[in-house]
Symmetry: D2
């Protein structure tokens, strides 16, 4: 499991979320409160939107608490929309390519969770990707592959539907492989305009998800767990929810995987 935080609002320094709060993401990399494993030290990353449509990306393999580059970048870079992640590997090696966020064109994605029995269905899921998305695969994690599935399932035009179909695809491929479908999906993603998040698990025990104001009139956050309690109010998002956050407001609706009637390649 992992920890992550995403921000949408007026431009602030990345460190205002990543490093400055009392229970910041950097602190959570060493000692998370609401995670199964408290240590999230298998690398980290941040994607931020600035002067270009596609996000910037900085990922590395050290624990977030000891990376001097992250500290300096957090102090210098201002952004009105960014997604940051500290990793606790559930299997894949510690490498930059396995660190979140993952990026595709304008889209970025961070994930806390797991595809159960991934090693049994990885190839079948990869084979359902179109060539250009297969070529985008950089690492070997279930998280990255889920994101590429979302892109292939229409992320640009229909974010909710894309996640729903990708989740349905995972469940269907699991069944075909003769394994009990198991998916834990607490994730955020963005195209540089809107910030989306989902909390879902096949066993209704998805990792936690919260929204809260960064500061009144400045911006809002979506996070794995609150990064402080000082004057901030956090709302826990229920199981099986989909969050859409724009500069105009935040909406929450129920989330469920699509019933897959997918023509599977291969």
């Amino acid at each position: 499991m992992c920890r992550w935080a995403a921000y949408l609002g007026n431009a602030i320094f990345l460190e205002d979320v990543i490093a400055a709060p009392s229970h910041s993401l950097v602190v959570q990399s060493r000692q998370a409160r609401e995670a199964k494993s408290p240590t999230n030290a298998d690398g980290f990353g941040v994607a931020w939107y600035g002067d270009r449509p596609e996000p910037g990306l900085y990922r590395d393999i050290l624990p977030a608490w000891s990376d001097a580059n992250l500290k300096s970048l957090g102090r210098q870079i201002k952004s009105g929309l960014f997604l940051a992640h500290v990793r606790a590997s559930t299997g894949g090696a510690t490498s930059r390519m396995n660190c979140h966020p993952f990026v595709s064109g304008r889209w970025s994605f961070i994930h806390n969770g797991q595809i159960g029995g991934f090693e049994k269905i990885q190839r079948a899921l990869e084979n359902s990707l179109a060539d250009e998305l297969f070529d985008e695969l950089e690492g070997s994690t279930d998280s990255e592959l889920f994101f590429r599935l979302m892109v292939g399932d229409g992320l640009v035009d229909d974010p909710y539907g894309a996640v729903s179909r990708a989740a349905g695809r995972v469940l269907e491929v699991s069944r075909r492989a003769g394994i009990e479908p198991s998916l834990k999906l607490t994730a955020a993603f963005s195209d540089g305009q809107t910030l989306h998040a989902v909390r879902y698990a096949t066993d209704d025990h998805a990792p936690t998800l919260y929204t809260g104001a960064f500061a009144k009139g400045v911006g809002r956050c979506i996070v794995s767990e609150p990064f402080d309690r000082e004057g901030r109010i956090w709302h826990e998002i229920p199981q099986a929810s989909f969050v859409t956050m724009t500069r105009g407001g935040t909406s929450i609706r129920p989330f469920a995987p699509a019933v897959a009637r997918l023509a599977m390649a291969g």
Copy 2:
């Protein structure tokens, strides 16, 4: 392109090949003589056979010339059979998982060369792997995938045949994908007993390959390019050759890809 060196004989320190000679592999990482690109600084690795049937493996992403760990390991570890490699990436990222040697059970493999148009046939080649070999894939290089193909094509029982069939498979899959088959394959591999090497290219311009005595009565080497000329005689191996080196002697025979009548999965 890359540079590599392999040794078979009495146990010597790894550094006796890797670092001590005047034109050692470490020197070649900075300035190779017979390679297209002189710099081979995208990581390195060494596999050696010792007290266990499977080899030890040390790989990292720094240039070989600046890695203090490699220097110390080379001074300490003695082995009668080892394969070492310095990498010049032809595409894949600089990561440990993309560094040679690659290992599967008792087998290790190092490669200098390239599968032309790899991005167009990678998935088809992966799909011809059995599940357990697909699961062994760690990185994203053409070299590693070729090695897994060799394992799947019967490496344990028939080394020559396995390389021949894997090469044939690459050519056939290329043709099916509508691209001109292009393979450059100057590689060495071992099961801990015998050292094999191959030099082959579809255009008859395979990277160089040499054999030579390490020292009279001590051991023999197979290398990309000679690591010194001081008192050593090197034999250039012709294009389209397969080398088999045991403690009893070295044999060379012509090599050609198998004509593929392969039932391709998928």
Copy 3:
């Protein structure tokens, strides 16, 4: 604070101490039991004695639990005397040069503890080193500097006296700098023949230290905390003790810093 383990006896695989036990050093890197901070993920290292008088050295900056090289080296390298360490930084950056063990000629050194107010006395301590020892400094930790002081204070001829004098020097330099002397020193070191350890703190709260048999008739260990309880009996070493372990047996005597009547350079 950090965790470490040292072994002396018949040659065993490094992993038999580092990775195999139920509460091995690798496990302790993630979750130590008797340390102030449970996480020891700011790099690791191991020094081992083999075919040469000077030890081999492998150090790197990843958490020990995620380093594939450490895993392979631990499975391959056999040694009758080795020292291993997982680091929790008390200040210095995460770099290879700041990872333990530190090496000087035949000697290796691992440390758990701290020199209080180090930043105020670092230069004075460095200036008490002879030129050739000053040149040996690679990193910026208090641990390494203490080791170089030991070497300068006669480690080769008088291990107990060297540690005692180096500790006395730290206390004296602290007093001259107007700060309350504060030293925590739970350390092990070796010349490749004898394994020494010390447990001392100015406040009598030195980090824990234990000795125990690895296996009857095979070898013995000195450790920060027991690496398992299965059939092994561990002896806690009292505060202010000096341990000398040879292949013939283990002796313990009281330890105290020397009263410094040092002519300080500068």
Copy 4:
């Protein structure tokens, strides 16, 4: 020896200098034209000025050509004043702390050159630093120490004088140590407002230095060697020169080390 490039003018993307030109700094990391050694692959770094008085800093140990983070940061970060460097080590280890730029408060510094006989005078030079500057030392290079000397010699109030006095100090300390003074100093540094550079060597063979327009009316560069010839005119700066570049213009004056009448500590 190393390669570097600095820019002052309207805000541009870092990549416009670092990666986009035909003979960009990234290209020079693999194959420099006017350097003794063509390969500059022992790490890299960039300092840039943005929304804060002190610069941002990104440094890492991979060759610049293979660092995906550098590529992304270069595409995202815009700055009107930045200094970038690719390193070819003349001695110090490959570590982040030994990579340029070095930073002190608002000041940043990049260097191509060497202090001859550095190992013989390192400690004496360190001892001439005030405590707070000694504490700022992060790595072990002659370049960083020269920069800290500059800061101690009045960089804030008198940039020319500070470099002149620091250079004089190196020469004087060399003489006192009984070695022939030898200094090669082709360096740039800035406080976030003005960009300074110096070209000097005791043997009148200082590494090359050029100035040129980035684009008419946009900005100007100071570089080790031209990063392209396409429509740009480069001016070689003579030996023993000091360059001062502001948004208003560029001035060049003769440079000489101060005659040291320094009271040396220790």
